[in-house]
Symmetry: C3
């Protein structure tokens, strides 16, 4: 009982924080268009303003999913759960900042796997010693999916090392085909988890539905209200992302940081912050299945759905087609994150030290990106 | 009951397909020596003709093994199970096509681990939802052996990166010594699985023996007949391999494919096709232990017995000694295959999605080899 | 009963061997300062003389730890357990032999994980067929810690590949920060295993204490005697290490070996030989938990405590600051060792073939270091 009221008050706190952050939206717009500011202040203000907007997008997607019922609802969640990330990446793609797109994809993957999962396990582990448990089979499938996605990044990187810079056409062809394989495998994975083996996810699904229904009762939004909120917040995320991306280069230069670090750490954080808080809240409620599911599921969605989709979209909207050739540090970051996550999650048990280990890898990778020459 | 008659009729179908394919042997020979053709048509015909011959070699080896009893029989199977592969590689070695030898070894390893195991798990998973099980300890030992074999390829590749092309003598010395370590470890592994820990393999062995006896009863071949068939099919494989290898360069050029792709995908397939069908048939009968054993055991045999043996033989029959320095894409392919196979098999459970995952990695690796510049 | 008397007699034998080896200390000193010898003979004599000294350092640290009680005693063991290694490395650091320092760290890690654990599993497996068991959770945490340490070596190596040799300042900054992360994580790991989750290690700790008490009763040393012996043996290790390191270059040249091989295999062995024998003895007594704990714990201590400490110390005592950029073969050696150790230990079971597998990897890596051009 106390845990429920406890978590309600926390959720309420989260709600208030999101509302408060929403006031930064007009501030950022005014900075740029009224006061004519540019560079770091506009970049920071627009970045902060995306945090609550991404949060509202996530919530209204969940609300809509609920109204659509288990089948299409789950599908909506599984495909549009990272829509804010996608919009930010599209804006960076249109601006020709391929490096920032790839950096923010990398940052989302390692941020979910190391930072979100690490924090969830650490805080959950302190509250529920000595051991928290979660579904091994689902976690193991998630780990294998992430390894698959990592392989989808390793192959183009090795290929690039072999063919050098002389064969961009071959590289694009390979990337396009690998994107198709990743997306098809992702969709088959949805069939697996929603159709043929949905019982494996019963614990997580049921708990999620119940949580959703409680919140739905409390919030009481209708389907049109949810749709309206989704479209409105998505449009605003689009505007604010364009603002943020437009000031990124100047801000990075001013702050003495390289663009890749800004993409991997800062841009990746703002698109996922609201989601992150949900995973940690679930860990605090001892619902580790949901926390693991959010963190790992979101990484898989970025790597196997958003990244391939961006490759496809780049042919339509980009100044140039995008390939899947990430930098060697990015590839290594994804491979190492995936490896240690597989090792930590494969036994279906967690304790606070595993949280520390995941966070330590995140810090070490963050340092490497930070120290890259500008 | 129905499953037995069902599988008998399938075996019967396999028998008929092999017989039908056997007619391609004279066709290929006639193409070359009667009609004076060369290039792609001769290459394709000789490749197809090896499929049934390799199948008959495998069967007569099994028949012989049965007559020799558990001890020497198992040893025969464990050392000559990939004799067709070995003969093809020897022909390529004699022709000085080291790259094709290495490519076909790589292709056999990843083909068994990804394609055969993937198909077995996929089809078996559809027929026996939701979960199929197999012996964890045996699968785990197999995974560790494969990792060991992968390490045996990684070390010479790293060594080559360090010393460059200036020290071929050092590279050959290292490769020769590593080959000895791999072969000794392989032979000790046979002692483990046939002598000291044979009970771990009881399930697989007993099932295999039973299957073998049924078939033996049905086929009723004597030891001399088996030996004769083995020698005859081996000799014919030799002839057809020489034909195939001789036309490989021209055919690859005509088809617009690079030689490595032809070796990794096409050459590797023809030597293993019959074996592949057996693994899938076992999965369809819910005998996952045998299916996993065939796929993983065959990979281990290629990596830890056939490859070292070819290094030794290259000093006697090759135009030049062969080392274990594979290309970086080949090494990465073996490492990635081994890694995802370990992850999939370590829990002793399988479902159709794991089959999809293994096949997706196979397709992605195949694409990378395909896109390599000619 | 018979096993106790058996092991006592073995311990007695170890004691006598150590005492006998102690006579090499004056021999080595006399060679250098009385007879004016140099190069190989002095190198070998001083190396051999370190074996018993390192053994006495380890024992007196354990004795002291016992007198200090569970808390500080465990901390002492966990931080000074590899003090001999540290002293040798400091001497090499002062002599400016950074390559030898890194090689001996690498050699200690892979020596513990592959040679010591491999021998323990092999010999224990022969004596207690078919399967020996140990605590899965503790082994799994150890494997994850080692993966973390390996990541701490992979990141600077990749970083070096990216920035080249133009940015030694950035590399040193990154190494220093990663060293801090590793050391903090190591200390938190001590809190985990001695404070919050000490029950996980009860089996190993209790067994160790009991073993320690038995020996303490037999040896009956007081705290001052232990402290005196520790200081005396540490000082002598310092003298002998300086002697060994001073002759290393000439000896390596005379023996036709490269310095890295000497560091990875020879120098790493002498600092750990006494410890190694303890782990094997525990395996012979079927105390696999302690054997695994010694081997894995010692590797973790080298990678996450000694290596970072040397980076810090290098700013005070070295001719130049040391970074964590190891050679690619060293990084690969640590990664491969860690990977196969995780695979072998993750199921909490061992048999002799797993010992063979670990030793095979050790031999293959040793060969690669041996064949490196001088």
């Amino acid at each position: 009982m106390s845990s429920v009221s406890d978590s309600s008050s926390r959720l309420f706190t989260v709600d208030r924080v999101l509302l408060a952050l929403l006031t930064v939206v007009p501030v950022a717009l005014a900075m740029k268009w009224v006061f004519g500011l540019h560079g770091t202040p506009v970049f920071i203000a627009s970045a902060i303003s995306i945090i609550p907007l991404a949060g509202y997008m996530g919530r209204s997607t969940e609300d809509l999913a609920e109204h659509l019922g288990a089948g299409w609802g789950s599908f909506l969640n599984a495909t549009f759960g990272n829509a804010a990330e996608l919009i930010i990446a599209i804006m960076a793609l249109r601006a020709g900042l391929m490096d920032v797109v790839k950096a923010s994809l990398t940052g989302s993957i390692i941020g979910n796997v190391l930072l979100v999962l690490g924090l969830s396990i650490l805080i959950g582990g302190f509250k529920y010693p000595p051991i928290q448990r979660f579904n091994r089979t689902a976690a193991s499938l998630g780990a294998t999916m992430l390894v698959l996605a990592a392989i989808g990044l390793v192959i183009p990187a090795i290929f690039h090392q072999i063919v050098g810079t002389d064969a961009p056409g071959l590289e694009r062809g390979l990337s396009l085909d690998i994107s198709i394989v990743l997306m098809v495998t992702y969709l088959l994975g949805l069939v697996f988890s929603f159709k043929t083996h949905s019982h494996l996810y019963l614990g997580t699904g049921a708990a999620m539905d119940r949580g959703g229904q409680e919140e739905a009762g409390r919030r009481g939004r209708g389907v049109y209200r949810a749709l309206g909120l989704l479209l409105l917040s998505a449009a605003t995320v689009g505007v604010m992302s364009e603002l943020m991306v437009g000031e990124l280069e100047e801000a990075a230069h001013d702050l003495g940081m390289n663009q890749v670090f800004v993409g991997v750490i800062l841009v990746a954080l703002v698109g996922n912050a609201a989601e992150h808080s949900t995973a940690v809240l679930m860990a605090v409620k001892n619902k580790m299945d949901i926390a693991v599911n959010i963190a790992v599921g979101s990484s898989i969605q970025i790597a196997m759905f958003v990244a391939p989709l961006l490759v496809f979209l780049s042919y339509a909207i980009g100044p140039a087609p995008m390939d899947l050739h990430f930098t060697s540090l990015e590839v290594v970051a994804v491979v190492l994150s995936t490896g240690i996550m597989a090792l930590v999650s494969v036994d279906g048990e967690s304790h606070w030290m595993e949280g520390v280990q995941l966070l330590a890898v995140y810090v070490m990778l963050g340092l490497a990106f930070f120290f890259l020459p500008v």
